[in-house]
């Protein structure tokens, strides 16, 4: 017989999981910020050194139109999810589902646009310091953003399916929709800030 068989255990306080999501997502966002700050640092460092006068080679001009489209998708996705979160607070789960689905689809569109941009750049990764930062940042932003898109989908799927939880410490999963959306938004907002900063550096700074 196992040590705890037949015992009755205290249930975990119900506020624990939402607090875990809130704190964990802020820490994750911090880690992500430091990751992308390295690319921002690389931009300024290499720009200042401009070794072999090759930081920005003459033909390296990231197409601003693509950049604007990608940034717009990122922002729309965040705004849609924010709207969904507020709808959840108001108890309108139907609106939340629609908003989350929108955020998810527009988020995927951002990744698709980034892929399309690579085929319309006119320069390769070998074209100096700016091109390196451009490729490095955009590839990894895409990876992290896809993680955010996955996160949105899981929350949306849970609200659609409404499963019963097998875990007594979790309780009713519906109560976790709002904290989950909050946590995902914290992460996505951080990515959006990184995208805005790097958009200015890569597309606008000459």
């Amino acid at each position: 017989m196992s040590a705890t068989e037949g015992m009755a255990l205290d249930r975990e306080p119900p506020e624990t999981l939402p607090r875990n999501f809130a704190v964990g997502s802020k820490l994750l966002a911090s880690a992500v910020a430091f990751f992308f700050m390295s690319f921002v640092f690389a931009f300024f460092y290499l720009r200042a050194l401009n070794t072999a006068h090759s930081f920005r080679e003459p033909h390296v001009t990231p197409p601003a139109g693509w950049g604007v489209a990608i940034l717009a998708c990122v922002l729309v996705s965040c705004v849609a999810l924010e709207g969904g979160r507020r709808a959840l607070t108001d108890g309108s789960e139907g609106t939340w589902r629609l908003a989350a689905l929108t955020a998810w689809l527009v988020g995927l569109a951002a990744v698709a646009l980034q892929g399309a941009e690579y085929y319309n750049l006119g320069f390769g990764a070998t074209s100096g310091g700016l091109a390196s930062v451009f490729y490095g940042f955009t590839i990894w932003f895409g990876v992290f953003w896809l993680g955010g898109v996955y996160w949105i989908e899981t929350i949306w799927a849970q609200s659609v399916r409404r499963p019963a939880s097998p875990d007594p410490d979790v309780g009713d999963p519906a109560r976790l929709l709002r904290p989950s959306a909050d946590a995902a938004l914290t992460y996505l907002y951080m990515l959006a800030v990184a995208e805005i900063v790097v958009f200015v550096l890569l597309y606008l700074v000459k």
Partner: protein, 639 residues
């Protein structure tokens, strides 16, 4: 506090052995990782060959990175780490428990959300790689017994040095916070689990994979960069450096996730009454380490992926002829690298300050000073990294600032010494093995710290840079400090973790041989460094031959002391098992009030904390916690 209670579901019925073998476990993971590597390598070769923008790159690197990327996915799939995320895509509910089967040894071979199982997995894995890295050190010292190195070609010697350094740094980063952090934090704060149990398990298995990936560097031609991976050498090196990059990336990811998990757990899951002022000092050590891990490891990860992209898609981050700069690596690497030193040191500080009051039978002297010291070190560790670049051509005007901040960091470090000395002052000390290791920690770390002052000082750093003086310094801080603290922690907590006692006579032989031969190995290296012996070179001035032969002989004895430790583990835990008492040290902290080993769910009733755990010698001191009406406690806290 939620008062409702739920019955514990009995462990799952044990599946037949064969069914378990083909399920999600380390065997399946290994097979899947190998198959996935082969597939990924082939795909990578095709991508590298057919992609027009990649015509100038080394296509083999692309294949290796694809192979390793696929192998990581295969490893995780084999262990079952994709089951839950895929279920979540389909809308399945959040769950907190997986693979927790009481009494089953099989749970140690797979994804398991019991933090105690993960901690023991961590301990076995990190000790294994610790011994592999130690074996490399023996090879290095063997090579240095002759003036012109005869055992290994120069390139292989560099690979040995790199493997030793990288493996030690990687495994020691995970080696304290992994086993002890994961085991102790939930119990010491009065909860049943870590905040994110699957992530906790993931970090353990990523660490294991990182160790094997790093070892695979030997099959890929080795790497010449040492643990620091400096550019442009890393851009130009053979494929072995790919293994270095991937393994360090895995450890970086693991560190971030461990840190995130520990901070979240401590912030959100403390038992009622566990105020910040009552938090055990070792938990503060893990929290400050975690802050460093969460903020510094992502920068390392970014630097590593930059190098990987230089080697695959031909970006030029570190290529000075194409708009990049090798110094960019130095900046990014050391922004992680110096906090990394404190990622190693801070849990060591926490461990010794936790153990000292138990054997001094006195309250911890200056608790708040100790916490401020830990935070001071953590904060300042982000402000000193450029002292590693004093000789790399940084702007000379920056040197005084970084010299000053580096010297300033000795103040919060000094707080920890004050706490230790204050706690031991006029105490009736019990010279148990954990206590001996803690006292040795202070002795060794003092030498490490004082020699560090020479290296933070620009003029003396100019003389000693790249010499064995630096090598002796960081071995005194990392091995003399962290490893001694870790050993103290293992001897102190292993009876609780395993439920079995370690042989004390063997433990004392281990301590004394390790302490004596550690100092006889590394103290002479200060002299070797001052006499001009360079690091990472296998041939040296003939005048230093006798000194090197002596050091090598002492190093072999040090290696022997580690074998005594290993023998003790096997002897006491496998062949001559003796049940450990619940509280053999008469300690007051929470973990010692539970049975040994601790039950799966830690506490039947979540405790209410009523006191800090350091009120030794106070006859009227209250108990550390109220365990409610059905106390699981078996230990007796002594005064």
């Amino acid at each position: 506090m939620e008062s409702a209670s739920v019955p514990v579901s009995p462990g799952k019925t044990a599946a037949p052995r064969l069914a378990r073998l083909v399920g999600f476990n380390v065997v399946s993971a290994t097979i899947l990782a190998i198959v996935a590597y082969i597939l990924g390598h082939k795909l990578g070769a095709v991508v590298g060959h057919h992609t027009t923008w990649n015509t100038a790159s080394d296509q083999d690197d692309m294949a290796i990175f694809f192979g390793m990327g696929f192998a990581i996915l295969g490893w995780m799939a084999g262990l079952g780490f994709f089951n839950y995320p895929l279920g979540r895509i389909l809308g399945r509910s959040i769950s907190l428990h997986e693979g927790v089967e009481e009494g089953s040894a099989w749970r140690y071979m797979r994804l398991c959300t019991d933090h105690k199982v993960v901690a023991l997995q961590y301990l076995v894995a990190t000790l294994f790689f610790f011994f592999v890295a130690g074996l490399n050190a023996m090879f290095i010292r063997s090579e240095l017994t002759s003036v012109h190195g005869t055992l290994f070609p120069a390139g292989n010697y560099l690979t040995l040095v790199g493997l030793h350094g990288t493996m030690m740094l990687m495994m020691m980063s995970a080696g304290v916070i992994g086993p002890l952090g994961n085991y102790l934090v939930p119990i010491l704060i009065g909860t049943r689990r870590m905040a994110f149990p699957r992530i906790e398990s993931l970090t353990m298995w990523l660490t294991v994979l990182a160790g094997f990936v790093l070892l695979s560097a030997t099959l890929l031609g080795g790497f010449p960069t040492g643990w620091t991976g400096y550019a442009p050498l890393s851009d130009e090196a053979r494929a072995g450096i790919d293994a270095y990059l991937v393994s360090f990336l895995l450890i970086g990811l693991s560190l971030v996730l461990v840190g995130l998990n520990i901070i979240t757990t401590v912030m959100t899951q403390r038992a009622p009454g566990m105020t910040w002022n009552r938090l055990p000092i070792v938990v503060w050590g893990f929290v400050t380490t975690s802050i460093l891990a969460v903020l510094s490891a992502p920068v390392l990860a970014a630097a590593l992926v930059m190098t990987a992209s230089d080697r695959t898609i031909d970006t030029t981050f570190f290529v000075s002829s194409s708009g990049g700069s090798p110094l960019l690596w130095d900046e990014l690497f050391w922004f992680f690298g110096h906090p990394e030193v404190y990622i190693l040191a801070l849990p060591g500080f926490g461990i010794v300050l936790e153990i000292l009051p138990v054997f001094a039978r006195k309250p911890l002297w200056g608790y708040k000073l100790a916490v401020s010291g830990l935070f001071g070190v953590a904060l300042m560790s982000f402000m000193v990294w450029q002292h590693h670049l004093f000789m790399s051509g940084i702007n000379a005007n920056l040197r005084p600032f970084y010299m000053f901040t580096t010297e300033l960091i000795s103040i919060p470090t000094g707080f920890i010494f004050l706490n230790g000395m204050g706690t031991m002052w006029k105490a009736k000390i019990r010279f148990t093995v954990p206590m001996l290791f803690c006292m040795a920690f202070f002795f060794n770390f003092l030498f490490g710290g004082l020699s560090g002052v020479f290296l933070s000082d620009v003029p003396s750093d100019t003389l000693t840079h790249g010499s064995f003086f630096v090598m002796a310094h960081f071995h005194y801080t990392i091995m003399g400090g962290l490893v001694f603290a870790l050993m103290g922690g293992i001897y102190y907590w292993l009876p609780k973790m395993t439920g079995f006692r370690l042989n004390e006579a063997l433990a004392k032989v281990h301590f004394w041989t390790m302490f004596i031969f550690f100092n006889l190995t590394f103290f002479p290296l200060f002299a070797a460094g001052m006499l001009g012996m360079p690091r990472r070179v296998s041939s040296y001035n003939a005048a230093l031959h006798n000194l090197n032969v002596f050091v090598s002989a002492m190093a072999f004895c040090l290696g022997l002391s580690m074998l005594i430790f290993l023998y003790n583990l096997v002897y006491s835990l496998v062949f001559k098992r003796e049940r450990a008492e619940a509280n053999p040290w008469q300690a007051k902290s929470l973990e010692w009030q539970l049975p040994s080993p601790v039950p799966v769910y830690n506490f039947e009733r979540l405790p209410t904390i009523t006191s800090d755990p350091y009120n030794y010698g106070e006859p009227d001191a209250p108990p550390v916690a109220d365990f409610g009406r059905a106390r699981v406690a078996m230990g007796e806290a002594g005064a």
